[in-house]
């Protein structure tokens, strides 16, 4: 119920006609959607369908060729593509978070777990060691990492722990929008399940909005409220997750859904 109360009449992120080309090849083209506060959007598609390109364009890692990405900042809606770079980078370390597929891309491997979690706090100006330490301990607990591992480096962690640490590091500043690129890729099935469980809990508890790119339909079934299916850079179908997965309309979606292995 509390989630519904938080919903405001304006979308959190509003994307219009976003396109990115790599020379003559299409990265993604004519992507438009609205993301509402508290909503989790899944983007699925086979490898090379442009879903990672789309995510990078949304998060400001790639400069798209056209379109607009309007984010509801604290000072009202702003097109992040036309924002000044300092503003965009500030957004990226406060209101936004990005969870990489490979935790090595998102973590500082030479810095302890506590330092990794504390980095965003220090980046926004926290200068009290004790409070940084407390926040790090708290967040390690929330992602089920034992507090006595706080002074270990991520290289001493297992893959699943590294991924959970990356999530803690991203969520510590209380972002409103999280971009996730294959957050469960490269993890074995039981660890995946645990991570998904954790993610679902955090997203619900914090009222986060999230955009999750994955090729794993089970992940979106579990996490996403709404689903976008991409093929060759185009969005071929979008709708409520259960609706798209249970009653796929586009031939490609039908193929995708029917090729999931059943055990």
């Amino acid at each position: 119920m509390s989630r519904i109360e938080k919903i405001t009449p304006a979308p959190l992120l509003s994307v219009r006609n976003l396109s990115k080309r790599y020379g003559s090849r299409i990265g993604c083209t004519d992507v438009s959607f609205d993301l509402w506060p508290g909503e989790v959007l899944g983007i699925v598609g086979e490898s090379g369908s442009g879903k990672s390109t789309l995510l990078s364009c949304l998060a400001g890692h790639l400069a798209p060729d056209g379109g607009e990405v309007v984010f509801a900042t604290v000072n009202g809606p702003q097109d992040t593509l036309r924002m000044s770079e300092p503003d965009r980078r500030r957004l990226a370390r406060t209101d936004w978070a990005f969870v990489h597929q490979n935790p090595r891309d998102g973590l500082r491997m030479g810095v302890t777990a506590g330092g990794n979690v504390g980095e965003r706090l220090m980046a926004v100006g926290t200068r009290n060691y004790g409070s940084i330490r407390d926040a790090a301990t708290d967040w390690l607990g929330r992602v089920e990492i034992d507090a006595n591992r706080i002074d270990d480096r991520p290289s001493a962690f297992s893959g699943g722990m590294q991924q959970r640490l990356q999530i803690a590091r991203n969520l510590v500043t209380g972002p409103r929008l999280v971009f996730m690129d294959e957050p469960t890729g490269g993890l074995d099935v039981s660890v995946q399940a645990r991570l998904l469980d954790l993610l679902r809990g955090l997203v619900r508890e914090m009222g986060l909005s999230a955009i999750i790119v994955t090729h794993d339909l089970a992940v979106v079934r579990l996490l996403a409220d709404r689903l976008m299916v991409m093929k060759s850079g185009h969005v071929v179908e979008q709708g409520l997750t259960d609706q798209v997965l249970d009653d796929p309309q586009h031939p490609y979606t039908q193929l995708l859904v029917s090729s999931v292995l059943q055990v």
Partner: protein, 308 residues
């Protein structure tokens, strides 16, 4: 042709102009690393090629040069650079901090307070304070330009997490005039407070990394820290064993292989001046300077003039 292509103090005219322009820019933007086209110097990288170029660009015929290496006037690096400028510029040299107009230093600030009109030239190995945390130059430049310095505190956090206190003892990062975070070159953090509000001009030259930066006179330089772990300019808790000074930065010297050790001022000029003034420490006694001894000999047997 050859004599015209060389200028006073080793550098050719174009190089001298280029370096002086870089210095002016550095002084105008305190703490900002100005790229410059560093030349090869007749000494290896790591021996102060950046400092030498900055010194050469600042030297005037009437200057008095002092060169120190870790505070000492008589170590290889200091002696060779001093000789270099004696030969190539013919300037007067000194070991006394108060007499010098330009002091080139490797990793120390003299104990004696600097005065207006003096120039302190630092030799810098790696000018980028963020380098060991962020290897990409493009990224560190962006971080400087956008004033994103959170990462610097991650380093200090790591120190406390691993060692219980900020263990960085040298090259301790500072913020210059509330804007740029700067590596003060590997001076001990004991010297950091002397960077701030100094009446002397402080120039930093990194030859291999091709950067010049500066702290103009009377500039506020603050060492970074945490609220609950404030900056502490620590030194060995001893007095100098030769001159008895309690406030100077000390070197620890192992004197035998059964645990014997002594602490001596790292600033040799400071220590000598004090001993000449009659101060003595645990192991030293007040001594005459070699000059005084030489003078006393001269009184007995006047110089014959053969040595010249």
């Amino acid at each position: 042709m050859t004599d015209q292509s060389y200028n006073f103090a080793y550098l050719d005219e174009q190089t001298k102009r280029m370096i002086r322009r870089a210095i002016l820019k550095a002084v105008a933007v305190p703490g900002y690393q100005v790229p410059f086209a560093s030349r090869e110097m007749p000494m290896p990288y790591g021996w102060g090629t950046g400092g030498v170029q900055v010194t050469a660009a600042c030297l005037m015929p009437e200057d008095v040069l002092k060169v120190i290496d870790q505070g000492a006037d008589d170590t290889t690096n200091a002696v060779s650079i001093r000789k270099f400028f004696q030969r190539t510029a013919g300037v007067a040299t000194t070991e006394a901090t108060s007499e010098a107009t330009i002091i080139q230093t490797r990793h120390r600030i003299p104990e004696q307070a600097l005065t207006a009109g003096q120039i302190l030239v630092y030799q810098v190995p790696i000018p980028e304070p963020l380098r060991f945390l962020e290897p990409r130059e493009t990224e560190t430049r962006k971080m400087h330009s956008l004033e994103e310095y959170g990462l610097m505190h991650v380093k200090l956090y790591e120190d406390i997490a691993r060692h219980g206190s900020i263990a960085t003892a040298y090259a301790y990062p500072v913020k210059v005039e509330g804007r740029y975070v700067m590596d003060p070159s590997p001076i001990p953090k004991f010297d950091n407070p002397k960077l701030s509000d100094s009446p002397a001009l402080q120039l930093f030259g990194a030859g291999r990394e091709q950067r010049i930066y500066a702290v103009p006179p009377f500039t506020r330089v603050v060492s970074l820290d945490f609220d609950d772990h404030p900056f502490d300019p620590s030194k060995a808790p001893h007095d100098c064993d030769l001159c008895g000074a309690s406030e100077s930065y000390l070197d620890e010297v192992i004197t035998d292989d059964s645990g014997g050790r002594m602490f001596v001022c790292s600033d040799t000029d400071f220590c000598r001046t004090r001993r000449e003034a009659g101060h003595a420490g645990r192991l030293g006694e007040a001594q005459f300077s070699s000059k005084k001894i030489a003078n006393s000999f001269e009184g007995i047997c006047p110089p014959t003039g053969d040595e010249a």
